[in-house]
């Protein structure tokens, strides 16, 4: 899908949040010179096309008690990557699972998963359970807990 100027102005207008009022789409439309119906149609299409992944609440997970945030990285043989990625991605406590490039020799890990939990011990227990249920005993991994968070904001669009 190619975004036109009207889509772009809509994307920029709502990026910081929807108005908290009875007719938020009408209010958005008023600001950018669009009918409510058109705003609704365009947002629906942006969702269908996957440009809007999700509409609604975006939480600050740290403030909700998810303070143990672990990046668990795996050094998976290339030929097993898809299989292991799918398995890990289907585990309920994994919040993200991506393939990323290795940087040898420093960084041999090519599969990245995130687990957000309320304390470190619980996260470590999840990881043990995942290794067992996915049969990952032979795959080297490393757990990188987050320490300080310096900055958190969404990406901004013009």
């Amino acid at each position: 899908m190619v975004l036109n100027d009207a889509d772009r102005s809509l994307v920029a207008e709502i990026q910081g949040g929807l108005p908290l009022s009875s007719h938020p789409y009408a209010e958005v439309g008023e600001r950018i010179g669009m009918e409510e119906r058109e705003v609704i149609e365009r947002i629906t299409r942006l969702q269908d096309e996957g440009i809007i992944k999700r509409l609604g609440i975006v939480v600050r997970h740290h403030e909700l008690g998810y303070t143990a945030n672990a990046m668990v990285v795996w050094d998976v043989p290339d030929e097993q990557l898809d299989e292991v990625g799918e398995k890990l991605g289907s585990e309920s406590c994994i919040t993200l699972c991506y393939q990323r490039p290795r940087h040898l020799p420093e960084w041999p890990y090519n599969l990245f998963s995130m687990i957000h939990g309320k304390d470190r011990q619980r996260v470590l227990n999840y990881i043990d359970a995942i290794i067992e249920s996915c049969g990952l005993e032979g795959i080297p991994h490393k757990v990188l807990f987050s320490g300080r968070r310096f900055k958190q904001r969404g990406a901004r669009y013009q």
Partner: protein, 148 residues
């Protein structure tokens, strides 16, 4: 503190929000509360910064932007200085210290994919440290929802 209604709102509205002429009323109906109460509770949770925002979560790549995860290995005595220098870039979306030799991990979000490389080069220039670029190659799962 959060009560059961706040929790129900968070659990339900991370999964989507109606796109129709009266969306808050429709969402409130499902939660058995009034539209006014839903709006008021969302305002309060935003004010208390329990919610980051109420709106869209975009797919940066499909919007034509660049996105990457980057890591650096910073010595302890330089850590504060480098953190400040890195965070000063508006393209740095978030930045976490992590317990590894690669001890600083940040996400870079740029207006175009080509900008990623040039911002990385600028960060290396300013800080004097190497940046490891780890862009996503394949996505197996994105959930990122939090039950409360």
């Amino acid at each position: 503190m959060m009560d059961s209604v706040d929790r129900a709102i968070i659990n339900r509205l991370q999964g989507g929000f109606p796109v129709s002429d009266h969306p808050y009323r429709k969402a409130a109906d499902h939660l058995d509360i009034s539209e006014a109460e839903l709006i008021q509770r969302l305002e309060q949770m935003l004010e208390k910064r329990q919610l980051s925002r109420f709106g869209p979560l975009y797919n940066a790549e499909r919007l034509g932007g660049g996105l990457s995860l980057c890591a650096m290995s910073i010595s302890e005595e330089d850590f504060e200085r480098v953190a400040e220098q890195v965070n000063a870039f508006s393209e740095v979306a978030h930045n976490y210290a992590r317990d590894h030799r690669l001890n600083m991990w940040f996400v870079l979000a740029t207006e175009t994919p080509a900008r990623i490389e040039s911002v990385l080069a600028e960060i290396e220039d300013v800080t004097g440290y190497q940046v490891y670029n780890m862009p996503k190659k394949e996505e197996f799962f994105v959930g990122l929802r939090f039950e409360v």
